[in-house]
């Protein structure tokens, strides 16, 4: 089914079951944020896990997706689903330009270019107080009515909407990896020069993956704007770029379920460590270090390796 292995199918069914039941036991806003960041992390995971490129500027797409999505709903009075689509397209459009510049370079240079480009977006967001609201950010974004009919104000309505988009994004990302296209992408990661000699236009493949990652980030940003009702400079900032990398790392680079688990753990940390207040930064740092030294494959990766499964 959909190119899933048996273990992945089981995992998928379980994931859907848990996500359906979760809002009745856990905090819906928390869960929605987890799904937003999981979408965001799935994009970053495509880059990190499937073509081996670390981007330090993903927040540019997430943040601008949020601003445009929020603006569409708040100022243009568009319906929320259009806001989310516009957010995704914004991410993708910026991704087209940034990707074109960045994919010519490898490893650390790629990381630094994405960081530099994201810096420009950040600069724009700080400057333009008319559109982005500058330091105050966009506040009180309405959730609107889905297709102009169903009000998303109640948390459970928005939860259902978020869940549908999340699952669509999940299957889309999975589909990308398991298509013939995805096979070539993996071949590039394994041995780039061989892929080139086989006649594949490696840069184009990288570019498309980059744009897909940016698209997912834009969708996630716009969705997050509806969930939290705000978009601020944090969303386009370096910290957000670092956090999404942390999510992928904690969950497991190159795994299917890694981004979701990683997002759940990191967001839970932000929510529940907040009462440890003084020690938040230290604990986050220690987790980074522990992941690199002890759980390099991430939670899902280590678990899958133990069971000799692909998850």
């Amino acid at each position: 089914m959909l190119g899933f292995t048996r273990a992945q199918s089981a995992g998928f069914v379980l994931m859907v079951a848990i996500l359906l039941a979760a809002p009745f036991v856990a905090y819906p806003i928390f869960l929605m944020q987890v799904m937003c960041y999981a979408l965001f992390a799935m994009g970053a995971n495509l880059l990190m896990g499937y073509i081996g490129l670390l981007s330090l500027g993903q927040a540019a797409f997430f943040g601008m997706g949020g601003y445009v999505g929020g603006y569409a709903v708040q100022s243009l009075h568009l319906t929320p689903e259009l806001g989310v689509v516009l957010g995704g397209l914004t991410g993708a459009a910026i991704g087209v330009v940034f990707g074109w510049l960045a994919i010519r370079r490898q490893t650390i240079y790629f990381a630094m270019i994405t960081l530099a480009l994201a810096q420009f977006v950040n600069f724009f967001a700080v400057q333009d107080t008319g559109f982005t609201g500058g330091e105050n950010g966009m506040q009180n974004i309405p959730r609107g009515k889905l297709f102009g009919m169903v009000a998303l104000g109640p948390d459970l309505h928005l939860y259902a909407f978020t869940l549908v988009i999340f699952l669509a994004g999940f299957l889309f990302a999975h589909r990308v990896i398991h298509s013939p296209f995805g096979q070539v992408v993996k071949a590039i990661r394994e041995n780039e020069s061989r892929a080139i000699s086989l006649g594949y236009k490696v840069d184009q493949y990288k570019w498309i993956i980059f744009i897909i990652a940016a698209f997912l980030a834009g969708i996630a940003g716009a969705l997050n704007a509806l969930v939290t009702k705000i978009v601020t400079l944090t969303d386009v900032g370096n910290v957000t770029s670092a956090i999404v990398v942390l999510m992928v790392l904690v969950g497991g680079i190159g795994t299917v379920f890694g981004p979701l688990i990683g997002a759940a753990i990191v967001i839970a940390m932000q929510y529940y460590l907040a009462s440890f207040s003084d020690w938040v930064t230290v604990i986050q740092g220690v987790i980074f270090i522990a992941c690199v030294l002890l759980f390099r494959r991430g939670v899902v990766g280590e678990f899958a390796a133990k069971l000799k499964l692909s998850l």
Partner: protein
């Protein structure tokens, strides 16, 4: 008054000098990073935090032990270097065999831990440190009044940068280091203890950050975030100069300080982005940086 591009000439001369002073910090920090990257292939994201530690050690030596600036100038880099040695042996060496990105992620975590610990220990508004009396006051240069201490910073930074460059490019120890960068197993076969060489190199690079921290303590607010404010710019400097190029790091450091200085006159809001603009342009034109060897 002579005008250049609508700005008074003395102002621009002043700016040039100030740019060089800021450039000295970029040069010292990027030099340490370049050395570490050259031999260890580790992108040390904790470099800014160690710079901050250097400044706090300087303050601590005076505050707790009554040890003055001149002693700290030598003691603080040694202390930070020794701390670096512990970090390398305890944590960083485990990333050598991994993808280059893991070293980056590990040191990023390390930076968070250090900043968090110092915030808890000393608060966020920082501590105050005043430089030695003999370096207080200003010099009249005709076109501007230069604080004596800033003059001292230029001289000290230039001397240290030169000494490091000389050691690496012109001495036997430097030759050994460069050889170990090219082919560690061969150097090991010649009877050199490469792991020790690597550890000491890391300590040396970190000590440079500590030294920059000492120089910065009387100039800037000594607070836990002082390093993270600087580190992105310094990374850009290293990338522009060419990863691992010693001379490149130094020249680019000073050069970018000057470019930034002029931006601060003509369009101040862009003075932080200008570094990244330069970086993006350089990388597109010369992938390996201005002075790096093509990969």
């Amino acid at each position: 008054m002579m005008m250049i591009f609508g700005k008074p000439a003395p102002l621009l001369f002043g700016q040039l000098l100030l740019g060089i002073i800021n450039g000295s910090f970029y040069a010292m920090l990027s030099l340490g990073l370049a050395i570490i990257f050259g031999l260890l292939r580790v992108i040390n994201f904790a470099h800014g935090a160690l710079f901050m530690v250097g400044a706090f050690v300087t303050w601590g030596l005076l505050h707790y032990l009554g040890i003055d600036y001149w002693v700290a100038l030598f003691a603080a880099p040694l202390i930070v270097g020794a701390f670096g040695l512990l970090l390398e042996r305890g944590l960083i060496r485990f990333t050598y065999k991994l993808d280059i990105l893991y070293g980056l992620l590990l040191t990023f975590g390390l930076a968070l831990v250090l900043e968090g610990l110092f915030t808890n220990g000393f608060g966020s508004s920082g501590v105050s440190y005043n430089g030695p009396d003999i370096l207080s006051g200003t010099l009249d240069l005709g076109f501007m009044f230069l604080p004596v201490y800033r003059g001292f910073v230029i001289v000290a930074a230039a001397l240290v940068c030169f000494a490091v460059w000389f050691t690496i490019e012109r001495t036997r120890l430097g030759a050994l280091l460069r050889a170990a960068t090219e082919n560690p197993s061969l150097v090991q076969a010649f009877g050199v203890n490469v792991p020790r060489l690597v550890a000491l190199t890391f300590a040396g690079g970190v000590a440079l950050a500590g030294f920059a921290g000492v120089l910065a303590a009387p100039l800037y607010s000594v607070n836990p975030n002082m390093g993270s404010d600087l580190i992105n710019t310094v990374f850009a400097v290293v990338v522009i100069g060419g990863m691992g190029s010693i001379g490149g790091a130094i020249l680019t450091g000073f050069g970018l300080g000057v470019i930034q200085g002029f931006t601060e006159v003509f369009y101040p809001p862009a003075s932080s982005v200008v570094v990244f603009a330069v970086m993006a342009i350089v990388l597109l034109a010369r992938p390996a940086g201005l002075f790096g060897k093509a990969a």
